[in-house]
Symmetry: C2
Subunit: 432 residues, 2 copies
């Protein structure tokens, strides 16, 4: 089913290139069928995949156990092992997500704009599938199902590179996905993997411009930077969030406490959690906010002025420049004191990854200036940064949160996995 | 004004990197001012640039003469010399284009979508400037003014790399642009060049991801491929057009003759001119179409079946595979006979660059199948391919014609030089 090289052969880079290009060509072929499939057909496929995941749970979990045991033997960290692990609940969640996806409108065929030109030409710009979507990620078997579902719903074929740490799980999942596609009369090749070609397979994917339409890296900073620096295929960069909240002089204590607790402690391991708090030196809310966070188990990495202003009962660590740059993704928060909105904006411009920043204020001019001057995918006034999320913002499903400016910025929905086509219809018009 | 190194120094790559990064940092600073400038202010700048171009015509033409003479001495081709040459008419055309740009709506601030969420959060997705736009091009001084005008109108700062062949002209033009910006109180650094750093300057631009938001190559295939393969900055690829027209069995002779003449001869040097004609073997229009094209001076590169079907009075050359791949941009046309719409689609899929393809037909099913199955930026039914143009499609101004699928596809207007920002406003909402 999933083609692989004989175990004793050592493929040359040229072998891998031609093999991966052949995969991409089959993907292009499959993408044509996916592009022609109507919504009902694609939704049927998503539901068939969901049912098949549940029906094949035992094989999938057995394969996953092999990966997890190998990871444990290799000394993989607990956090990574957790990401790698599937169980009953997680497989059910994957099936539920597919059911949710099936319930969403089809982005394909949506008319973006249209008009009749003075010469009578009828013009429409319509969403059409990208074609071949590739994803590179590591040790996250849930991404295999997740990204495949999103790509298929938007009429694309997908090529996956899920990494060696999850090789057994991904092989099992991809077999289930392909069989389910075939069971509803869609091409199995709409879901393929290049995992059998190792790192060189990923390298070929990155330079397959023209064969692969878009490449989505999912994972840590290092993985994303490698893809960004080496890919000639257009990349959508997702996920890095060094998120800031600025409390100005006018913000109320109650709101500040409630929003900071939510933004830092509700789910600290995700990209929209706050990582640095900036407090105006004229504000009086710092002691209450710091005490509440500390009580909730948050370790505060604070600059000297903040530490001097904290009550003796609140512990803190001295902050260094590293703290301003760090995306902790844990119960840690950097805290700095600033003397003006300008200083807050300057700090954010220096250290932000352009994901989400929020201001807590009751001052209209400050709110408007913050909105205008902060150059991030999402700018929030008086609400938690945790709202930068496809589901929360009404996109239905989320492909990822883009921190680049091209094509998509912020939470990406299904439409962001499509492109557009201009359709011009006439009756013999020529250009004057 | 335009910083340059002493003539006798040999800068190291590290010197060039820090110099270009410093330029990019000044560009980021200037971009903030441009992003805050309202439409009236930006339009005032565009008109000031137009007036300054006319007022400084003599200096610009004198600089241009130096470039043209150097080009002539180097044996530069007549076509390239023509592109390189400015004159009274062309400078007036540049000023007219800036006046036209000033008359267009501002893309910045446009609300793409918005809603009030169930929890009361007010959500808007708004067009905002990209920030720092860079362009790499060669020997086309008109692009200097053109791309700078488009970037400024959309609230961006621009960094130009215009190549050594046009160095004197570009230096003169950039001085005029910078002075005009300052004269209306906008930062001169909104227009900068890295020409003084030669090829290494271009290389640094290509890897300045995070410092440069988007890179637009303009020029020949080789230049564009170099940028695409070496840039970690997101690229918008424009311009390559191996454009096809397919005449099916049902198309009328009159329409076929008129559209082919227009699509091939109206302006053969541009990317939306037709390069290959595919004729269904059951059509009877070929002799009339070929005779009309031949009479208009078009050299036909035809396959054996086409040549056998041509009247003796129509000359033709035998086509090779190279002809299917060639974007002639001249009075040349490849002609092939196909036996079905499927064969036409197959030919197009093999050889198209994804720019524009047209079908001439009176058959509804063929028209719909062609629209659905052709994966190009523009698909045209019964009209000339010359309509794939920003002006013709109502975009007002054209940044280029994108042949990639990410961000923009087909003619790009001012909006395509912007990105979006999500703005979320609440009164203390936290995530449940």
């Amino acid at each position: 089913m999933v083609p692989s090289l004989p175990a004793d052969s050592q493929p040359t880079p040229a072998d891998v290139e031609s093999a991966v290009y052949a995969i991409a060509d089959r993907s292009r072929q499959a993408a044509r069928s996916m592009g022609r499939a109507n919504r009902a057909w694609k939704d049927k496929a998503l539901r068939a995949i969901g049912s098949a995941l549940l029906a094949n749970k035992q094989q999938i979990l057995a394969a996953n156990t092999k990966d997890v045991e190998a990871g444990r033997a290799n000394g993989t960290s607990a956090a990574l092992l957790d990401r790698l692990t599937l169980n009953d609940t997680r497989i059910s969640a994957l099936a539920d997500a597919l059911e949710n996806l099936a319930g969403l409108p089809d982005p394909v065929g949506n008319v973006v704009r249209g008009q009749t030109l003075p010469n009578g030409l009828r013009l429409r710009q319509v969403n059409v599938p990208m074609g071949v979507v590739a994803a590179i990620y590591e040790a996250r078997p849930n991404v295999t199902v997740d990204i495949a579902g999103l790509a298929l719903k938007s009429g694309n074929a997908v090529i996956l590179r899920g990494g060696s740490a999850a090789a057994f799980t991904n092989e099992a999942l991809i077999r289930v996905l392909r069989d389910a596609l075939e069971s509803v009369g869609l091409p199995a090749d709409a879901v393929q993997t290049v995992d059998q070609y190792g790192r060189e397979g990923a390298n070929v994917l990155m330079r397959a411009r023209g064969r692969v339409d878009v490449l989505i890296p999912r994972g840590g900073r290092e993985l994303i930077q490698t893809v960004v620096n080496n890919s000639s295929v257009p990349v959508i960069e997702t996920g890095e969030g060094n998120v800031h909240i600025f409390i100005d002089e006018s913000a109320s204590e109650d709101m500040a406490v409630e929003i900071l607790l939510n933004a830092k402690t509700q789910r600290p391991s995700v990209c929209n959690t706050v990582e640095t708090l900036l407090v105006h030196s004229g504000s009086t809310v710092l002691p209450a906010v710091a005490a509440a966070l500390s009580k909730a188990g948050v370790r505060l990495h604070a600059d000297d002025r903040v530490r001097a202003a904290l009550p003796a009962s609140v512990e803190s660590l001295p902050a260094t420049e590293d703290d301003w740059a760090t995306e902790y993704m844990d119960l840690d928060l950097a805290v700095a004191m600033v003397d003006s909105l300008d200083d807050a904006v300057k700090h954010i411009r220096t250290w932000s990854t352009g994901h989400t920043e929020a201001i807590l204020t009751n001052d209209l001019r400050n709110a408007e200036r913050f909105i205008a001057e902060i150059d991030s995918a999402a700018v929030i006034v008086n609400a938690s940064t945790r709202f930068t999320d496809g589901g929360e913002l009404g996109l239905g499903a989320e492909v990822g949160i883009s921190t680049q400016k091209l094509h998509a910025r912020g939470p990406m929905g299904l439409t962001e996995l499509t492109t557009t086509k201009w359709i011009v219809q006439g009756e013999g018009q020529v250009r004057a």
